[in-house]
């Protein structure tokens, strides 16, 4: 859409929303949120940007095709899932935890990495779907 107003606003909204999405991701274990909703917010950030500035510019911004985020996220989740099998011969998806809580995030463990994987996949999926549809529209 050719509107200066949205274009300008979207440039400021993008980093804010991304920040917010990470915030939602990290606190999911303690409060509502988590990888899924976080990922959605991140993709909304890009989608709004894309509506305002066009797909090409958004893709340039992303540098890689959003589709590649999907395997990346899945791989992170997969590694988080199998890590206990290799680290301590425990079943798939068993939580592995660092002994001490980290500031901000709290306890860090494989579940967090799993959630990060979810986050990335959701971003990849939403963007792929919306971009593809918009492109062919």
């Amino acid at each position: 859409m050719k509107t200066i107003i949205l274009k300008t606003a979207s440039k400021y909204l993008l980093p804010l929303l991304l920040l917010f999405s990470v915030f939602i991701l990290l606190r999911g274990h303690y409060l509502p949120g988590g990888g899924f909703v976080g990922g959605l917010i991140a993709s909304i950030a890009f989608v709004v940007y894309a509506f305002a500035n066009g797909l090409e510019q958004t893709k340039d911004l992303l540098r890689i095709h959003p589709g590649y985020l999907m395997p990346v996220g899945l791989l992170i989740a997969f590694v988080a899932g199998i890590s206990p099998m290799f680290l301590s011969a425990l079943p798939f998806m068993t939580g592995e935890w660092f002994a001490e809580p980290l500031a901000v995030i709290g306890m860090v463990g494989s579940a967090l990495f799993f959630d990060i994987g979810v986050f990335i996949v959701v971003v990849g999926v939403s963007l792929t779907i919306i971009f593809t549809i918009t492109e062919s529209a």
Partner: protein
Amino acid sequence: MSLYDYLYFILLPVLSVAMILLFVRFLLGPSIADRVIALDLLITTGIGIIAIYSIITDQPTFLDIAMILALIAFLGTVAFSYYLEKRNKNE
């Protein structure tokens, strides 16, 4: 009357009535734009309801939902506008 009672028995119902009013406009239309505005406002009112509800239940957690609602409502409006513009162009 405690704050809880006031919010619970007065404000929440009033906000709900506001939603119903907004919904009436949604139903009446007549143009798509009217519906989009109505929907946007319904969501905004929803944010208000959630905020009141978080006070009533003493659960600040609910405010996060309000945030999400605000975000997504905006996206919705942007998308609808995008659609309306595109549709118009294609005609």
